[in-house]
Symmetry: C2
Amino acid sequence: MISPQATKILTDGTSIDMQQLRVQLKRFIMQTAQFTDQEAELLVASVQIITAKKGTFLLKEGQVCQHNYLLVQGCVREFQYKNGEEKTTTIYTEGQSIESLISYQNHTPARHSWECLEDCILTTSSRADTERLNKMVPRTQEVCREKSEEQLGTYQAHMADYMASTPEERYLHIVQNRPDLLDRVPQYYLASYIGVSPETLSRIRARLKAKGRKVKASL
Amino acid sequence: MISPQATKILTDGTSIDMQQLRVQLKRFIMQTAQFTDQEAELLVASVQIITAKKGTFLLKEGQVCQHNYLLVQGCVREFQYKNGEEKTTTIYTEGQSIESLISYQNHTPARHSWECLEDCILTTSSRADTERLNKMVPRTQEVCREKSEEQLGTYQAHMADYMASTPEERYLHIVQNRPDLLDRVPQYYLASYIGVSPETLSRIRARLKAKGRKVKASL
């Protein structure tokens, strides 16, 4: 059974129901990996949970990444500076891991930043936490490696799709697969994410809207 | 000691020195992963080696990927059809693994093809081969998983760099980091790989050449 914990009162006066959150986390852990009920219970009871207000930077370009995160609630963007401009390269939402593997593994400065676009709730683990969890539930390491292999396949496919598609196709992919981003993420970040200027994104949206009207009129 | 094997005569009359090849492979295996001398010896003696002529397809879009490869010699491009055009998404050279993880793991049709751009020598492993090698050298599985984690980090960084860069910057990245591709890969594939038409790549090259002349003249 999830151990009951008091509601956590945050500095801004809001509160989160920690017990409900841990139930939600346990469900998530058991859905995504082959842990037993007991293993998931142990992990959930031991994991660090943090909250971060909108605008918080979880990592800044140039810092060495010391923590991995799992985004329980909220939205985080990854971006890097290039020729004086911010380029958004990933947008994380609920259930996604936020990791900067090269910086974390090799202790090298990260080449990107992570900024919370909404108030966020995350699990966080440092190297020491990870070692502790691995000792407590030895199968964690194996499961994480299996997940890495899966993720690698997803990255391969995602990268190839991105390279082979036009900005309009990338926008349509978001509309079809991650429609919540349209409301949650400012247009200029979305534009950067699909590789165009905000003006070009406006033109893409107008063109798609006109197409939609034509399709409707011909029915 | 690497077991001596006869020179392999290929159907086109050329030959490869299998013993030299296995020495080269063993060196590669020991450089890239923490295998003992004995483990590397066993792996090299058991691995399947194939040759494939320029123009051979190792995989065709729509087929289920049944083999993973390690490219020992040669050059292979990965591409997919999009709106009737071929889009080159990866160019593999010596020492790189060629894997289609989602298709291989989930038995689903691959969404890309692999075409040899040069005569190639590759190691190849089916599921059965992989199981056999894992049984013979149990640490293979662990090493492969560690490599997957490393590769995942590399993919993360590569994907972010690609998204954040202009086609000219992508071309310069090739010039600086993989200059051999400039001679080995036809211009229209390179153009597709950096996300532009062959005409745009010609303009990029002309611009960079003019810049180079200016820098030289001002020295």
